[in-house]
Subunit: 204 residues, 4 copies
Amino acid sequence: MKQDGKAAMNKLKKREALMQAGYELFTEKGIAHTSIADIADKAGIGKGTFYSYFEDKYDIHDHIISRKASMLFERAQKDLEKNTQIILLEDQVIFFCDHILNQLKEDKVLLRFIHRNLSWNVFTDILDNKATAFGKNIRSLIEIAIKRSDVKYRDAYGMLYLITELLGAVAYASILENKPKPIDEFKPDLFEAIRAIMKQRELQ
Amino acid sequence: MKQDGKAAMNKLKKREALMQAGYELFTEKGIAHTSIADIADKAGIGKGTFYSYFEDKYDIHDHIISRKASMLFERAQKDLEKNTQIILLEDQVIFFCDHILNQLKEDKVLLRFIHRNLSWNVFTDILDNKATAFGKNIRSLIEIAIKRSDVKYRDAYGMLYLITELLGAVAYASILENKPKPIDEFKPDLFEAIRAIMKQRELQ
Amino acid sequence: MKQDGKAAMNKLKKREALMQAGYELFTEKGIAHTSIADIADKAGIGKGTFYSYFEDKYDIHDHIISRKASMLFERAQKDLEKNTQIILLEDQVIFFCDHILNQLKEDKVLLRFIHRNLSWNVFTDILDNKATAFGKNIRSLIEIAIKRSDVKYRDAYGMLYLITELLGAVAYASILENKPKPIDEFKPDLFEAIRAIMKQRELQ
Amino acid sequence: MKQDGKAAMNKLKKREALMQAGYELFTEKGIAHTSIADIADKAGIGKGTFYSYFEDKYDIHDHIISRKASMLFERAQKDLEKNTQIILLEDQVIFFCDHILNQLKEDKVLLRFIHRNLSWNVFTDILDNKATAFGKNIRSLIEIAIKRSDVKYRDAYGMLYLITELLGAVAYASILENKPKPIDEFKPDLFEAIRAIMKQRELQ
DNA sequence: TATGAATGAGATTTCATTCAT
DNA sequence: AATGAATGAAATCTCATTCAT
């Protein structure tokens, strides 16, 4: 196990390269038509080497989803922090959702990738993910926001989960296929729905 | 035209056998690990014969989804029609959702199968599906319900789609993994969210 | 399972071709350096087809051993039947052993192949093998020989097994490496040893 | 020359560890399904380091066989020396064989390992093996025994080889599978066969 | 000297698809 | 029309060997 810093760094880089290659290929061709050889080739890494990093293509797929979804949330969180004038939790949630929809609209490849791959497990993974660029994980940031909020909500986490799922479920068809409407027309509906859900969970 | 009734019946039976076999295998092992040979074998049909019924495993998969989701909706619709005392559209929607959740709770195999497979396309397919047991398709039934309702809603179809997606997105983790809560505890939250969404879309 | 004669015949021929190819390759290069592709190629059969006949290369290897050892015994048995003037069971056994050694001396490839692969299981397989060219299996022929013999032996089958093992154990080094002596010099020793073993098991 | 005693000891220990690991793995999974990585891992030694001790897995396999077979013979020889009252060479041989069978009965792993791996070459290797715990090698001990014996045998070494082979050929199926009989029932037969072989080679 | 990450040749294995029967 | 044997491309996966550290 004696591993100097350089070697460890190199391993991380290779892992990164594999995930990036996998991400591109999975979105281009789908997991069914992507082979491990494809991924290794694109990453500039030997085929056999793949197996010291991931078990199989489903394993790397899972890891990429967590990673990508984390980044999505992190970026939204980061920008939210900059907008210190948004005070109400309800407004913060809407800002967050809007931010994510905008990211997905800009990065349709990403959208195609995480589509229908958000789940409760991934959601909690993200919340607790220590491997973020921030010092703090997202869960603790959310906790702070909930605490600071004057308005309190019944089971706030459950509520956020519900909202996340709704967002994920709806984004794909709207952004990529304009169904039932193009995302910019759909947003008002969606945000109203989200506000309605939150309102109805307000305590007192 | 030289196809007698018996032969046609036989063809239908084989198609049925293939779909049932596919349904079981896809649920057990996932589409990635199910081969056409597996399906044909389980259906007791020659491998080559598969191709006279479906193009490939993705084709049969799509058909099974439509079929299963249709049945899910049909049963709920049927029971709804029996309960003539439920008059408000909002209550009808809740009844419908509850019915579907109950079905999925009883038939976890079905849940596992349709999980992540509902989409706008499937949704509209179902609405227009002529191959139902009813004389009328579901869309026309919904149209009638909307027309009869005293309360009118902004973009009723979009609203129903939203609700469907929310339902599908949330059912899996709740029923199978009790996350974030067991479905029976989660239902009140969910139904309140749905009512909130509807309320906020009421016209006038 | 409806398989006409022609198709069944064809399957048998393919099986035969695979076994012959396997036999040649295993003796040329050893099992470790023979791949399934090699075998299929040499047999003029698709690589994938191999798997409808045998599980893996160890499976076909076992089948070839049984087959080849059977043939070895069958030929010896056949020639023994022709020599009706050899009456004593002891002489028949020696004739049998001599015949086998001669066959192995002539067919060193075969020797190399069955070397250290005779075991009690293979031995009994051979005795009961119905798939011989004869109408009768070897066991029943031996039974007849034992019954006819005036001299009776204690546990005749165990005795034959012992002799077979001794023969198999010794043949390789002697025929192929002249160790401890060339086979023709070694035979007298060996046959005397066999006669000694038999003598000492005579009853009465 | 700059190799101090400690380093040399360490090398020996590693060699030992590799052989022990190889022994266990070869017995468990067979040589075909054991990789060099497996052996090095189990020995707690780097994969690359394997190559400073052995050429490949066949090389280490050979060394283990010699080693294990040597130990088997050595132990039998040692105990034979203690029993000074066994005077006749024939009795000594039987004692020796009995001792070996008992060892194999107690150590079925060892039996499984050396099964089908005894050969004339291994036999002579053992006889001349200088790397035994004794000061003297086994061959010289046997020579002494032969010289001392009043009864003389035709080609004594060839005779011993024959007996060794018979023993090896028969031990496996009898001890592990009780075929054709459990070893304790089979022993009388076997020993009588051995005595018969020896008797018949007595000179004068 | 020892290590183990990396390699890629080559082995095994799967399976969609064809096609003679 | 139905079959399932045959195919071989392409996938997965293994592992002996090298070599920078």
